[in-house]
C-alpha cells in the first residue's frame, strides 16, 4: 500500500483466518479424528510388534506361534483391495460433485453425490460379507481358542470342543438317542461324520482295549484307554478338521459335513488380540463411513425437495473433506490388516 493510502485510511485488520468457518471447523474435527484412529492403529502396531514368532511347548506338544496371517483368520486380500478401489472411486465422484456445484451444475452434482452414496453402500456390503465370514468361522473377540499352553485355559478349551463335538454329533443323531429304542439298529457312524466322531472319542484317550461286559451289561473290566489328548493337541486336531471340511466345501466332492453346520472353536494363537484389533479398527471405520452416507442422503433429500443449489457449495466441500479423510484412513487400514 502506498503512503498516500496509508494517510487516508487506517490499515484494515481482519479477524481470524481467510477461510470459511465451516472449513476451519471440519479440519479441526479431522485433526481430532487423526488422533482417534492413531489410538486404534497405534495399539494394533504395538500389539503386533510385541508378539514375536516363538515356539511354545506344553505336555510334550510343541506349537509354533505367530501373529495370525490373513489366511489364519479367513481374511481375503482381494476383498480389501476391491474395497480400497471402491473408496478411491467414491473420493473421485464426491470431488467431481463439488466441482460441478461450483459451476452451478446442480443436477450433475446431485448425480455424483448419488454415485458416491452407491459406492459407499457397496463398501458397506463387502464389509458385511467379510464380517459374516468371520462370524461363520468363529473368529470373534473372546471366542477363539488361544493360550492353550496355560492349563486353566487349555482344559477349558478342551471341554468347550468336547461340548461342540457332542452337539454336532447329537444333532446328526450319530450319538445320543435312547438305547432302549435304538436296540437292534445298526450303530455304524456315517462316513462323513467319522473324523468328528474320531476326535470326540479320542479326546479323553483312545480305546486300546474295550471294556469287558458280562451278559447283564455290567462292566467287569473297565476299558483301557490311551493317554488323554493335551489341549495343544486338541487345538491342532481341530484346525486340521476345520481345514479338511473347508477343502471339501470348496471342492464340493463326496458327502461331507459343511463347516457352517458344525461350530468348532478354532485354535488361533493371538487370535483374540487380532480379532479385537480388527473389529475395533474396521468397526469404527465402518461407523464413520455410515456417518458419511447419512450426510449424502441428506443432500439427496434436499435435492429431491428442490432446495439444493449453489448456496450449498461450502456444505458439499466440507462433506467431501470428511469423506476423503475416511478414504485416507482406509488407505492405511488396508495394508496394515490385509497386506503386511
Amino acid at each position: 500500500m502506498s503512503a498516500v493510502h496509508h494517510e487516508e485510511t487506517a490499515p484494515s485488520l481482519h479477524m481470524g483466518l481467510p477461510l470459511p468457518n465451516g472449513k476451519l471447523a471440519i479440519w479441526l474435527f479431522l485433526v481430532t479424528e487423526i488422533m482417534f484412529f492413531t489410538g486404534l492403529i497405534g495399539a494394533y502396531i504395538v500389539l503386533r510388534q510385541s508378539t514375536p514368532e516363538r515356539t511354545i511347548s506344553y505336555e510334550g506338544v510343541q506349537q509354533k506361534i505367530h501373529w495370525p496371517t490373513p489366511h489364519d483368520v479367513h481374511l481375503e486380500e482381494l476383498f480389501g483391495a476391491v474395497n480400497t478401489f471402491v473408496l478411491i472411486c467414491s473420493s473421485l465422484t464426491i470431488v467431481l460433485a463439488h466441482h460441478a456445484l461450483s459451476k452451478n451444475q446442480v443436477g450433475k452434482a446431485t448425480g455424483y453425490v448419488a454415485v458416491t452414496l452407491l459406492l459407499g453402500c457397496v463398501f458397506m456390503g463387502i464389509k458385511a460379507v467379510e464380517y459374516k465370514a468371520k462370524i461363520d468361522h468363529g473368529i470373534l473377540p473372546g471366542r477363539i481358542g488361544d493360550h492353550l499352553e496355560y492349563p486353566e485355559i487349555g482344559y477349558q478349551y478342551k471341554d468347550k470342543v468336547r461340548g461342540e463335538l457332542r452337539t454336532a454329533l447329537e444333532s446328526a443323531k450319530v450319538i445320543g438317542g435312547d438305547p432302549k429304542k435304538d436296540e437292534g439298529k445298526p450303530k455304524e457312524v456315517p462316513e462323513e461324520f467319522k473324523p468328528l466322531f474320531e476326535l470326540f472319542s479320542e479326546l479323553d484317550g483312545k480305546v486300546i482295549e474295550p471294556a469287558v461286559m458280562d451278559k447283564d451289561g455290567k462292566e467287569t473290566k473297565p476299558a483301557v484307554l490311551g493317554p488323554a489328548m493335551s489341549p495343544l493337541q486338541v487345538g491342532q486336531k481341530v484346525n486340521q478338521l476345520l481345514a479338511q471340511m473347508e477343502s471339501h466345501d470348496s471342492k464340493s466332492d463326496k458327502k461331507h459335513v459343511h463347516v457352517a453346520h458344525v461350530h468348532l472353536t478354532p485354535y488361533v494363537p493371538y487370535g483374540n488380540l487380532w480379532a479385537s484389533c480388527y473389529f475395533a479398527m474396521t468397526g469404527f471405520h465402518a461407523l464413520h463411513v455410515l456417518g458419511g452416507l447419512v450426510i449424502f442422503v441428506i443432500i439427496l433429500l434436499k435435492a429431491a425437495a428442490g432446495t439444493f443449489g449453489k448456496q450449498h457449495e461450502g456444505f458439499l466441500e466440507i462433506t467431501g473433506l470428511y469423506w476423503h479423510f475416511v478414504d485416507i484412513v482406509w488407505i492405511f487400514l488396508f495394508p496394515l490388516l490385509y497386506l503386511v
Binding site: I34, M35, G42, L92, L339
Partner: protein
C-alpha cells in the same frame, strides 16, 4: 470472503487433475496388491514388500490430501493444526512401546 487473484486455483484443481490422481491411486493400489502377491508366491522378500506397501500408502494419502482435499492451496492456512497431530501421533505410539513391546519380547516371552 474477498476475491483473490488466484481464484481459479483457489477453487481447486481441474477435472483432468482429479482424473489423473484417480488413475495414480488405482495404479498404486494395484502395485501394493501386486507386492503382496509376489511375497505370497515367494518372489519378493517380506521386508522389501513392506517398504513398497508402506511407501505406496503414504504417497496415496498425500495425493488424496493435497489434491482431493485441496491442501495444496490451503496448506498455509491449516498447517498449524495438522502438524501437531502428526507429531503427537508417533509419540503416542512410541510412549506405549517400552511397556509392551520391550517387556513382552524380553521378559514375558521366556
Amino acid at each position: 470472503m474477498s476475491e483473490h487473484h488466484h481464484d481459479d486455483h483457489a477453487h481447486g484443481g481441474t477435472i483432468s487433475s482429479y482424473i489423473a490422481v484417480f488413475v495414480a491411486l488405482s495404479v498404486f493400489t494395484l502395485v501394493s496388491f501386486g507386492a503382496n502377491w509376489l511375497v505370497h508366491h515367494d518372489k519378493m522378500s517380506a521386508s522389501t514388500a513392506f517398504i513398497i506397501i508402506l511407501g505406496v500408502a503414504i504417497v496415496k494419502a498425500i495425493l488424496v490430501a493435497m489434491i482431493f482435499m485441496h491442501l495444496k492451496w490451503d496448506w498455509s492456512k491449516l498447517y498449524f493444526m495438522i502438524c501437531p497431530a502428526f507429531i503427537l501421533a508417533p509419540f503416542l505410539v512410541l510412549a506405549l512401546l517400552p511397556d509392551i513391546l520391550l517387556y513382552w519380547k524380553n521378559v514375558a516371552g521366556k
